[in-house]
């Protein structure tokens, strides 16, 4: 009797572990449009209405807990915001004067870049969020039926928050900026030098803008924005000028300069987001199709590597 119990216990464990390993191996080895990914998308389609309902039902509880945290931070944020407003007011006056001539020059030299206006924004609600350090993702209630496709940029009123990783008919998975697989081509303020924004794994409140030239002199508090198209060969998926975050500190320990970036959007408190979908026949759509045709996870080496890598992993 004892032997039988022991054998059954061990058999159950072995079966479950082998099953998990088989799933892991098959999933990891297949393409994003493979069978297991398809099963996940179908599952999301089935459970997304339940998640949506649960999300709405649990919102008061979530708001109650968030209220305490937000109240604690409000005072320090107010002082910071007042200081920032003062600084930005001065910058605005100077920028407005330059803006007009800058636009005229761009048009004259045919350097107009892909802008937000090239995209069709689809508003979506966040129905759940994965808290894991390794998977900074949220699920939204809009999918392929609303025109959402893989790799579409996702923003909210504060700036860029991520991109669509997978799309099901009635829902989609959004990888946040802090997800370990994300990379965004970006620059600091009005600087022309671009770098690659990557997450710092294990620190969900910090990003790293890497590969900046050593002669760059970033200052804490400066805005980091998406660089958009930098070279015709390696166009970026994200339109230029979307706010990513603010420079927190500068590191100079390697051949390239890197800066710590504090994300502008509060990624812990996302309720409503906008997916920038590509309308038919626009340049944004052709870019999106190019990105989809690229093999996933391909790494590059050499001088232009950062920009290509950023295109492939998301930027």
């Amino acid at each position: 009797m004892y032997d039988k119990t022991v054998r059954r216990r061990r058999a159950v464990l072995a079966l479950l572990v082998v099953l998990s390993l088989l799933l892991l191996t098959a999933y990891f080895g297949e393409a994003p449009n493979g069978r297991l990914h398809g099963v996940q998308r179908d599952f999301l389609t089935v459970v997304s209405p339940i998640q949506d309902g649960a999300n709405k039902a649990l919102k008061p509880v979530r708001d109650l807990f968030s209220w305490f945290g937000n109240t604690l931070h409000a005072k320090s944020q107010l002082a910071q915001a007042l200081k920032q407003t003062e600084r930005l007011r001065g910058e605005l006056v100077a920028e407005q004067a330059e803006k007009r001539s800058y636009r005229q020059l761009l048009a004259l030299d045919h350097l107009d870049q892909l802008g937000v206006s090239d995209y069709h924004p689809v508003t979506a609600e966040v129905i759940n969020k994965d808290p894991n350090v390794w998977y900074s993702t949220v699920t939204i209630d809009k999918g392929e039926s609303a025109g959402v496709r893989r790799n579409d940029p996702v923003i909210n009123d504060e700036g860029l928050i991520g991109k669509v990783a997978q799309a099901a008919p009635d829902g989609a998975l959004v990888e946040l900026l802090t997800n370990s697989s994300m990379g965004v081509a970006a620059r600091i303020g009005t600087s022309q030098a671009t770098g690659l924004v990557r997450p710092k794994v294990g620190d969900p409140n910090d990003l790293l803008l890497q590969y900046l030239p050593t002669n760059e002199q970033p200052n804490p508090g400066e805005y980091v924005v998406t660089s958009g198209t930098v070279t015709p060969a390696y166009p970026s998926l994200f339109p230029p000028g979307l706010i990513v975050g603010q420079v927190a500190s500068v590191n100079e320990e390697s051949a390239f300069k890197s800066v710590n970036v504090r994300p502008e959007a509060n990624l812990h408190d996302l309720d409503v987001v906008q997916v920038l979908t590509a309308a038919e026949g626009t340049r944004a759509q052709s870019l999106s199709q190019v990105a989809l045709s690229l093999p996933a996870g391909q790494q590059t080496a050499g001088g232009g590597g950062e920009q290509l890598a950023s295109t492939q992993v998301g930027g």
Partner: protein
């Protein structure tokens, strides 16, 4: 455990497991404590193992992990593998040691949380995450375990309350109870 007696337990586990998973991804995920989120699902699996034994613990861990992987579009099989091991080991702890100390759930919770967080990290590195790893990761792991320690006792109380009445009878506990009530193990009975 016979099929008839396991049906109420399976029903309670399914409903409770679903509620905990939805609570985790709907509320807990959006309310960080000290910058980290408690791992209620790992605690649930550990406590189910501690209450119901290794087989039920492993099965519950696999089911909860698979549901999370499917619902959050994560790497399929990763969470289920880690949770299966957590459920099994906590169940074996009950079967081999049968710990009765009041702080047992706390220690089991800490162990399960550490196992889940370290397991995730190791698996992700083995699967080839290409990202710089900072000292912050260690801080997050330590903070995660600490936060899970705080919620371990309430989670244990809720899990035990929900499963009470449907738990499998442990023959060893039954023998011990009988021995105490009949004086079989009392030193006075030998006088």
């Amino acid at each position: 455990m016979s099929g008839a007696s396991s049906a109420p337990l399976a029903l309670r586990l399914s409903v409770f497991g679903l509620l905990v998973v939805f609570f985790q991804i709907g509320v807990v995920a959006e309310v960080p404590v000290f910058g980290v989120n408690p791992e209620l699902c790992a605690l649930l699996v550990a406590f189910v193992g501690l209450l119901c034994g290794s087989t039920v613990g492993a099965a519950c861990g696999f089911a909860v992990g698979l549901f999370i992987d499917l619902a959050l579009l994560q790497t399929l099989g990763l969470t289920s593998l880690i949770f299966t091991l957590i459920g099994y080991w906590c169940g074996r702890l009950r079967e081999l040691r049968d710990p009765q100390a009041p702080l047992t759930p706390l220690i089991v919770g800490v162990g399960a949380s550490a196992l889940a967080l370290i397991g995730y990290s190791l698996m992700e590195f083995m699967l080839g995450v290409d990202a710089p790893v900072s000292f912050e990761l260690l801080r997050q792991l330590v903070l995660g375990v600490l936060v899970d320690t705080i919620v371990a006792l309430p989670m244990w109380a809720i899990t035990r309350r929900v499963l009470e009445g449907a738990l499998p009878e442990d023959p060893r506990r039954r023998r011990r109870r009988r021995a105490y009530t009949t004086g079989g193990l009392s030193p006075l009975s030998k006088a």
